[in-house]
């Protein structure tokens, strides 16, 4: 039989970024303290490079795959996307303030029945991007249910961000930006509107979580604390021409 869940959880937990980085830093500071299995020289960027898992969740059809493809390849080709079945994954290396961070991004099927397949992976995710479609009221109404699900299955300190996607839809829009902001505030979650079609805030969304994760894993003594909320507020762009 496959190893039981608890074992697996421990396995993954044992290699979370903070633990690894701390060990590495430890070793860099005291090279005489020997640990047989670890190499002497540790490259921080390499450690980060393989460990950041980001998961995209939200109702079917809100544009998770489109967002990911826009971020990964900078492209949006209307009518070229297929519905995601089960769970799909893509890697992308980001340069965060000079440190290479490799994101493994899990793209999930939005249909409810797949949740029992995908929630097994919630706890392995370092960050979650929760999406709704501003042109689909039901997808917005379901955000609370998603948050409950996340609360139940994800790690307590998971980095979470709410995204109102398809912000380019002007005529079809049914969820106002203020509604998204209000809901996000209620749950203390950073929020932005995105558009995979126009590219609005797409890179920012991934960069923001990558920055947060990087800062969490490398708490250097003299560095000011990174504040995800503030960063998002400062960098986010509105659907118009001006900064919001």
């Amino acid at each position: 039989m496959a190893p039981d869940r608890k074992q697996k959880k421990e396995l993954w937990a044992s290699q979370t970024v903070p633990a690894l980085v701390q060990r590495a830093l430890c070793k860099l500071c005291s090279p005489l303290k020997k640990e047989k299995t670890q190499p002497q020289q540790f490259c921080l960027s390499e450690i980060l490079a393989r460990l950041l898992a980001v998961m995209l969740v939200g109702d079917s059809g809100v544009g998770k795959t489109c967002l990911l493809v826009r971020f990964k390849d900078g492209a949006f080709l209307a009518g070229s996307f297929i519905s995601t079945v089960g769970i799909d994954f893509r890697n992308k290396v980001l340069n965060v303030d000079g440190v290479k961070v490799k994101l493994q991004i899990w793209d999930t099927a939005g249909q409810e029945r797949f949740r029992s397949v995908t929630h097994a992976y919630y706890r392995d995710a370092h960050a979650l991007l929760l999406l709704y479609d501003v042109a689909n009221k039901a997808s917005f109404d379901n955000i609370q249910a998603w948050l409950t699900e996340i609360h139940e299955y994800a790690q307590q300190d998971v980095v979470l961000m709410l995204l109102g996607n398809k912000a380019d839809s002007t005529q079809d829009r049914v969820v106002k930006r203020e509604d998204g902001e209000k809901l996000a505030k209620e749950y203390g979650v950073p929020f932005m509107e995105t558009s995979a079609k126009s590219g609005l805030n797409v890179d920012l969304a991934f960069m923001a979580i990558a920055k947060e994760l990087k800062h969490r894993s490398m708490k250097l003594p003299n560095e000011p604390k990174f504040k995800l909320h503030d960063y998002v507020k400062k960098e986010v762009r509105g659907t118009g021409c001006c900064k919001s």
Binding site: M1, A2, Q104, E112, V117
Partner: protein, 343 residues
């Protein structure tokens, strides 16, 4: 061959080519290598077509036998594919016993939520196939919609599960017949793959666990690698099993697998998965971390090994070794019990 004649040979028109099922070939499609394979495969196809004509002798029926099983493993010619699938899966018999049933489903009262879920996937089913474009005439999107709506109302416990859109789409491409596609979908979802697509997806989860056990037995180093890095089988397998290798393996290869799926049942899925894993064992074992393992499982579904469908199908019956139904049933039982215990 493959709609490649006539005007298509002109310079500059190589891109935007479509295969004989209507799928656009990717821009980087290796025509030279494919041509080379296909000219060899054409000889096999011709030989099989002659053998099948003799076997069928113009009849529209066939009895299950060792000979038929062997013939099916060697591939059903495209012109007989729909008929043979219908007959060996029992879909034909069901259709004949229930005349008018399909159309009654379409005319009956509808579950709005179900329609909405199906509609969401309409533009997201084979956008790379010219027959499924909104502008196509006839447009298979409407056919697909009908089949899925009818099925969702026929099998209310399953309703609509993403992945069924692709499966039904393939059935439509092969049968070119709405009602037959419906009954074939029923054969797959109702009988051949029980509980794969239902809300609990117990059949799917069970078979993923079973595959894990089979890998442990037959390719232990890979099982150990997956264990060490905490990669659950469901992460790499759910798409393979739900889409029945659509969009994972080349079209021709998928159809050859389905030939056996309709005749022999779901065991064939294990054979395909095990063959891919065993064949690429050395490459998979090069992976040293979680994302790399995931990437490997994408890589191993590409290349000539899977394109050469005839050789591939021979391999799946030799490479994994014996795979008795008794073993599988026993594994299914224990895996199911384990899953139920986990809740």
């Amino acid at each position: 061959m493959e709609e490649r004649g006539g005007a298509g040979q002109e310079a500059g028109s190589w891109q935007y080519r479509v295969d004989s099922y209507g799928f656009e070939r990717p821009e980087d499609f290796d025509y030279v290598t494919y041509e080379e394979f296909f000219s060899r495969y054409l000889v096999i196809l011709t030989r099989r077509a002659i053998k099948w004509s003799k076997l069928l002798k113009g009849k529209n029926s066939i009895q299950k036998s060792l000979k038929v099983k062997r013939y099916i493993r060697k591939g059903i010619p495209n012109e007989h594919r729909a008929l043979i699938w219908m007959v060996v899966s029992g879909a034909q018999a069901n259709m004949e016993q229930n005349p008018g049933y399909y159309h009654k489903l379409l005319e009956g009262e509808k579950n709005y939520k179900l329609l909405e879920a199906i509609r969401t996937d309409m533009n997201r089913t084979f956008p790379d196939n010219i027959q499924f474009r909104k502008t196509a005439d006839p447009c298979l999107q409407q056919t697909l919609y009908n089949v899925l709506v009818a099925y969702g109302h026929h099998n209310k416990a399953v309703g609509y599960c993403q992945g069924m859109n692709f499966v039904a789409g393939y059935l439509i491409l092969i049968t070119k017949n709405e009602e037959e596609s419906f009954w074939l979908l029923d054969a797959l979802i109702g009988r051949i793959l029980p509980d794969f697509y239902s809300p609990e997806m117990m059949g799917l989860k069970m078979d993923q666990e079973v595959l894990g056990e089979l890998v442990k037995m037959k390719v232990p180093a890979v099982a150990e690698l997956m264990d060490r890095h905490g990669v659950m089988w469901t992460l790499v397998m759910s798409r393979w099993f739900i889409c029945l290798f659509i969009d994972i393996l080349p079209v021709e290869t998928v159809l050859r697998i389905w030939d056996c799926l309709f005749y022999e049942g779901s065991k064939i899925l294990f054979r395909v998965a095990l063959t891919l894993i065993k064949q690429h064992q050395a490459s998979i074992l090069e992976a040293t971390n979680f994302p790399d393992i995931c990437d490997k499982f994408k890589e191993i579904t590409k290349g000539m090994f899977v394109t050469e469908c005839h050789t591939f199908m021979e391999k799946i019956f030799t490479e994994p070794g014996s795979l008795s139904m008794a073993t599988i049933n026993k594994l299914r039982e224990t895996c199911r019990a384990k899953l139920l215990a986990q809740g």
